[in-house]
Symmetry: C2
Subunit: 190 residues, 2 copies
DNA sequence: GCGGCTAGTAAACGAGCGTATACTCGCCGA
DNA sequence: TCGGCGAGTATACGCTCGTTTACTAGCCGC
């Protein structure tokens, strides 16, 4: 008999749903929307393919729920205005060296084929990153400056993905801080 | 009879090959490798699908030839060291507002699924952008600084693609120049 | 004038995708 | 004890993808 305790999971709808959501978060973050198949997600979550459709309606529905559930960079954006460049730089430096634990930003760089997904991503980037930064900045061209900082932020992710991670030195973080200050128009030099 | 002169093209292997190459260059640049199908390319080139396989071996072979045939940003990178930030800024500003005529850079941002394509893109980015900039800079951490500038460059493309084009003001170009100076460690301030 | 090389064509192949359907089986209240 | 509800499953459907194969038709040297 050997007992063969393959820890038969109890049938738990909520838990299975959560496993799918978590697996999707990881995979979408790492590979982008189009590259991830529902079979990959189901396999990673150790669940059946059909459950994706059952619990989330469709692949794009699952992606939308993943996107909506991400706290994203709120902690970075929220805070005092003067410290924003340094917080952005430290977060970006984190992204340069190793995978961040909030993978959704990476999926922003990719995932562009499906117009529905594109709209989701665009809206999310707007409301979670661009608008908060612009609001914190204030001023007439706040959006332009927020946009430039966002560009630097996304670009760092692109480069890491394209040519591999690299651990930045403290001097690099300082330089990056200065770059963000410049982008945001928050130069602190006398 | 009506003659029906549907301008029957002369059968010209070289010309057809060139049309396919050109269509692929446009489409890959605009949508990235994975999003473009060989049917799209053949249709845009007004050629038969099978000719892609016949003339280029495969879709990835065609992509490789497109990649190899691009002059890319050589004109921007080559030149005096002091002027590099401004040249980069002007080129990047061009990218912010409307589509550049060398679309291959955009495909660098995307196209990540197939490992073979990823290797092609990585190698190309290295030899055409990163290495020339690092060589122009010199110094111990030249690669780190070149990498940071590349990140800004790619990020601007990502943002344009994600949230639409925006025409930068001359002041924005100035700011961008300062950003590149900072990234490259070429601060010219006294 | 004509046969053969070749550019170009039409159609199909197998694989993989997202999705939908019909089913099995374990648990829980009556 | 047992009937049914629902979580989980196996499988198939329709589609599109990259690729391949068998074919058609025009030009060029003889």
């Amino acid at each position: 008999m050997e007992a063969q305790v393959t820890d038969a999971r109890p049938r738990d709808r909520a838990a299975t749903r959560q496993r799918l959501l978590e697996a999707a978060r990881m995979l979408f973050g790492e590979y982008g929307y189009e590259q991830v198949t529902v079979r990959m997600i189901a396999s990673a979550a150790d669940a059946n393919i059909a459950l994706v459709g059952r619990y989330f309606g469709s692949k794009s529905g699952l992606f939308g729920e993943v996107l909506a559930g991400e706290p994203t960079v709120r902690a970075v954006v929220e805070g005092d205005r003067a410290g924003l460049p340094r917080r952005l730089a430290e977060y970006a430096a984190e992204r340069m060296s190793h995978d961040p634990e909030t993978p959704i930003l990476r999926s922003l760089e990719r995932s562009a084929g499906d117009p529905e997904i594109q709209a989701l991503v665009r809206e999310r980037l707007h409301t979670v990153v661009l608008e908060p930064i612009a609001a914190l900045l204030g001023g007439p061209d706040a959006h332009v400056r927020a946009r430039m900082a966002t560009a630097v932020f996304l670009g760092i992710g692109s480069v890491r993905r394209l040519i591999g991670p690299e651990t930045p030195s403290p001097a690099d973080v300082d330089r990056l801080t200065a770059v963000f200050e410049l982008c945001l128009g928050l130069e602190t030099r006398p």
